[in-house]
Symmetry: C2
Subunit: 195 residues, 2 copies
C-alpha cells in the first residue's frame, strides 16, 4: 500500500498509519513531522489544515479501495471467488500488519466528532462497500452460487459488520488468526445452504 515517494505521499502514508493506530484525535502534525523528518510548517504547506489532510487521505483511500474492488470484479469471474478475494486481502493486510484496520471503520467510531467533510466521506465509503457486496451477492445468487437467507442488501450489511467486528476482535485479543475464524464461516454459510 505504501509506495509514494513524494513528500505529500509520505505525509499521507504516515498520517494513515497513525489514524489506523489511534483515530482522528490520535495523531498530530508533530507526529508526522517526527516520522518523516520534515518540519511541521512544511506539512501545513502541503495540507493547510488537519481536516483537509484527513479529507484528502480518505479520498485517496476510497479511490484505492474502489479501484481494487472494481478490478477484482473484472479479473475474477466467479462472485464466490470475488468475495473470497476481498476477505483474503484483509486477512493478508492484518497478518503482515501492513494495513491492520480499515481507515474508514476506524474513523466511523469517532463519527460524531469528525469534521463534516470527513464524516460524509466515511459514510460514502460504507455505502459503496455495502453496494459492492450487495451486487456480488446478487450476481452470485442469480448464478446459483449463493443461497441467501435474507435480501442481498441485508446479507451485505451482515458481512460488512462481521469484517469490521473481526478487525476489532483481532486488536482486542491481539490474535490475527481470529479474523478468518470469524469471517470464513460467514462465506461458507452463503455457499452451502443445505447442511
Amino acid at each position: 500500500m505504501k509506495s509514494m515517494t513524494s513528500t505529500s505521499g509520505k505525509i499521507l502514508d504516515t498520517a494513515q498509519s497513525l489514524i489506523i493506530a489511534g483515530g482522528y484525535n490520535g495523531f498530530s502534525y508533530a507526529d508526522i513531522s517526527a516520522a518523516i523528518g520534515i518540519r511541521k510548517a512544511s506539512i501545513h504547506h502541503h495540507f493547510p489544515t488537519k481536516a483537509e489532510l484527513v479529507t484528502i487521505l480518505v479520498d485517496r483511500y476510497r479511490q484505492q479501495v474502489d479501484g481494487g474492488l472494481n478490478s477484482l470484479r473484472e479479473q475474477v469471474s466467479s462472485p464466490a471467488e470475488q468475495l473470497q478475494a476481498y476477505l483474503n486481502f484483509w486477512q493478508t493486510c492484518i497478518r503482515d500488519a501492513s494495513l491492520p484496520f480499515c481507515v474508514c471503520a476506524m474513523l466511523a467510531g469517532e463519527m460524531q466528532m469528525l469534521p463534516e467533510e470527513v464524516a460524509s466521506r466515511v459514510r460514502a465509503h460504507f455505502h459503496s462497500l455495502a453496494g459492492w457486496l450487495t451486487s456480488v451477492l446478487k450476481t452470485g445468487t442469480e448464478q446459483g452460487l449463493f443461497q441467501l437467507d435474507k435480501r442481498p442488501e441485508e446479507e451485505a450489511q451482515m458481512l460488512m459488520a462481521s469484517v469490521h467486528g473481526a478487525m476489532l476482535s483481532v486488536r482486542a485479543f491481539g490474535d490475527p488468526g481470529l479474523f478468518s475464524t470469524i469471517v470464513s464461516p460467514q462465506i461458507t454459510r452463503l455457499l452451502a445452504p443445505a447442511r
Copy 2:
C-alpha cells in the same frame, strides 16, 4: 445507566459518554469540567491522572456488564432467551442513545495507544464477554435449543464481532435500525438449523 449523583460518579458518567463519542484521545479534563460545572483541579482530586480515571471507568463498566450478564443467567432460564435479552439490551441502548456503543469496543480500536493498565482491562472484557457467550451457546446446545456449525468458542467470537460491527455500521450510516438487521439473523441461524 446513569444514576450516580456523587461527584466522582458524575465525572465517570461524563467521561464515559465522551469516550463513547470519541475514544481515549477524544476527551479532556476540560471537557468533563465544562460538562458538570466543576473545576479541572477538582477532577484531578478524584482521579489524579487520565489513565487512572479511564482505568477505574473501565473497571466500573466491566462490573456493570458482568453483573448484568450474570443476573441475566439467573433470571432468564432459557439460553436462547438469555442471548436475545443481551441483544435486546444493546438494541434499546442504541435506540434511545443512552449507551450507543460498548466502551471497551470503542477503546479496543485504539488498543495500541492505550496505557497498558487500560488495554489489559479492555482485553479482559473481550475475554469475559466471549466466555459468557460461549457458555450460553454451550448450555443451549446441550439443551437442544441451538445447533451450531462451529465450536461454541468460535460461534461466540462470530456473534461478538457481529454485535461490534453492527454498532459501527449504526454509527456510519446513522441508522439505529441496522443493529437488528445485522444481528437478528445471527440468532435465527443458531435457533433454526434445518431450513
